[in-house]
Amino acid sequence: MKYILQRIAFYVFTAWAAMTLNFFIPRMIPGDPISALLARFQGQMNTDAIESLYVLFGIDKDASLWSEYVDYWKQLFNGDLGLSFSAFPTPVSEVISEALPWTVALVGITTVISFLLGTGLGVVAGWRRGTWVDGVLPVTTFLSSVPYFWLGLLAIYVLAGPDSFFPSSGGYDAGLVPYPDWAFISSALQHGILPALTILISSVSGWILGMRNMMVTVAAEDYITVAHAKGLPERRVAVAYAARNALLPNVSGFALALGFIVSGTFVLEIVFSYPGLGFLLFRAVGAKDYPLMQGIFLIITITVLVANLLADIVYLLLDPRTRKEG
């Protein structure tokens, strides 16, 4: 339990650091793009909204940095991320909450599948080292070097099209309203398959290589020799002894990979015009919608931290050495 509390403390600290970073970035922007944009919406905004943007972006030159910082936190705790410029006057939190489920579903499901599949294949590749399976490795190396978005472009070029089963863009049919009925869900699935496959193909290679190398490393441990000496069935040695131990570093490597996969997925969403956070960020960048950009960064950071915490809990369940005795 102590371990989990430590990890939670660390993630709270990281979240604080990310939000503080978020506070300072707009204050370091040379020039003043915000004021110009504010001027454009001057007539349509109420004073509260303008006030909140002032706090977020530090335009109010009279206020001290510290009082701005305190106000910034107050606002965050109220869930107020300001108003979006590009979707004016919708609050940023609302815009993000529409896009978040799409990204979480797409990344979450594909990452879990990719991890399980890649780890499983890695176990086989590591255990059957020296057989034909080794021939697959150069292919996986190549695939893991291909940028997600380019693979997405290829997928669209080869598989999607006006007559194809796979739609080339969007998250669901334009004629439908997001509502949990069968027509909508099936349409969402149909739109999700191609982006999901693309993520799967690009990310699975990394897990295969990582797990394969860990299997090779673990296979030289004494307890593997002991397991063989005990006359255990091959399967038991490979799974309960080798793979079970090789899995641990792979799970803790999740933290690094997750940020990378999220980044890759963001760009992929752009390619597929998928209605998730990545595509939203792309549109925000294009429209210079700073409040939205900042909000997306905050939300995605917190989501990644939560996912990391889940990975830590899984690790805790897998490795008895991190559990406290008694």
Binding site: G130, A219, A220, E221, D222, Y223, T225, V226, A227, H228, A229, K230, G231, L232, P233, R236, A240, Y241, R244, N245, L248, L318, D319, P320, R321, E325
Partner: protein
């Protein structure tokens, strides 16, 4: 006592293939008799561990067995060659007939499984018909046998001390009541008190259960105390084999003498400690002839040219000992000595 249980015949083990190969074990002949403790001593790199892992085919790549036979004599069946077994039969043979206690108890146990799981694994693999209840009872019994209370069954390896872990390994080795137990530096990582305690316990268990032991260590003093016979290895070969007392009293091979001279006597008069000059041979560039000759204080002409035969020397107790040294030419070569045994 003279009935053999394990016969190693001209075992050869290489690391690597072709020109790159390093010959780690060369033409080793060794017989383990029923109920005895056979000590195997030598410096690191002498091939003693390679021999132990080689005879059960447990050497990791690039280890290769390039020749030889390992004849196992079951209690009530015909002898067979372990190296000729199929993978499945070898799995059945392992642990049930020959168990191993490995060097370094720290890493011998799987860190992510409970002790009970790892003990149970053996029973599940070898006695699938056994009920879960009786498996559990057997595990408890084994732990009790090696002096570990049954409530540690559900402990993980990291929760046990080094000595306890090694006891668990010994208990695990005996769980199927094998004929042969190979102990590879079983107590090297432990302190001296723990070493003697565990070895004493093991000898007691051997007397009760009647298994035979191959005891590998670089610590000749332990062997003199705990084993019946001792074989000395150098450069991948056995250079001398004799009853423990005879070897201690009167070692014939200069290398054995050197090893004996490098630790203090346990009993008897004080003697001067002397190491062996030089260092173990590089297996990649083995000296010609007797591989010990560059370090040997008594080497003479033929030593650098001819490999000495391991055989019975012409001494009063020569019938029970063998040596490979030109100083003591073989009267009967070891391999020829017992043609009727198979």
């Amino acid at each position: 006592m003279n009935e053999p249980v394990l016969e190693i015949r001209n075992l050869n083990v290489d690391y690597g293939l072709g020109d790159q190969a390093v010959h780690a074990v060369r033409d080793v002949n060794l017989t383990l008799h029923r109920g005895e403790v056979l000590g195997l001593a030598g410096e690191s790199g002498s091939g003693k561990s390679t021999l132990a892992y080689g005879l059960t085919r447990l050497l990791a790549p690039p280890g290769v067995i390039t020749g030889g036979e390992v004849i196992y004599h079951p209690e009530k069946a015909d002898p067979y060659d372990v190296l000729a077994l199929s993978d499945n039969n070898l799995r059945k043979f392992r642990w049930a007939e020959t168990a191993i206690v490995f060097q370094g108890a720290m890493n011998s146990l799987n860190p992510v499984h409970k002790i009970s799981t790892q003990l149970n694994d053996v029973l599940q693999a070898h006695e699938p018909k056994m009920s879960a209840h009786s498996r559990n009872a057997r595990c408890r019994e084994m732990l009790k046998l090696v002096g570990i209370s049954a409530d540690r069954m559900d402990a993980y390896p990291h929760q046990l001390s080094g000595g306890m872990r090694q006891r668990v390994m010994i208990g695990m080795a005996l769980i199927l009541q094998p004929q042969v137990v190979i102990m590879d530096e079983p107590t090297t990582a432990l302190d001296v008190v723990m070493q003697r305690q565990i070895l004493g316990q093991l000898i007691e268990l051997r007397e009760r259960l009647g298994f035979s032991v191959i005891f590998i260590t670089h610590d000749l003093s332990l062997l003199v105390e705990f084993s019946n016979r001792i074989a000395i290895m150098y450069g991948g070969r056995i250079v001398e084999e004799a009853p423990a007392a005879a070897l201690y009293r009167d070692s014939l091979h200069p290398y054995s003498a050197g090893l004996l001279g490098s630790f203090p006597a346990l009993r008897g008069p004080r003697r001067e400690l002397s190491g062996i000059p030089g260092s173990p041979p590089d297996l990649k560039g083995m000296p010609s002839g007797c591989s010990f000759h560059p370090r040997c204080p008594k080497a003479f002409d033929p030593c650098s040219e001819h490999i000495p035969v391991l055989g019975r020397p012409d001494t009063t107790d020569g019938s029970t000992r063998t040596v490979a040294c030109h100083l003591h030419p073989a009267q009967v070569p070891a391999g020829v000595s017992s043609p009727g045994e198979r």
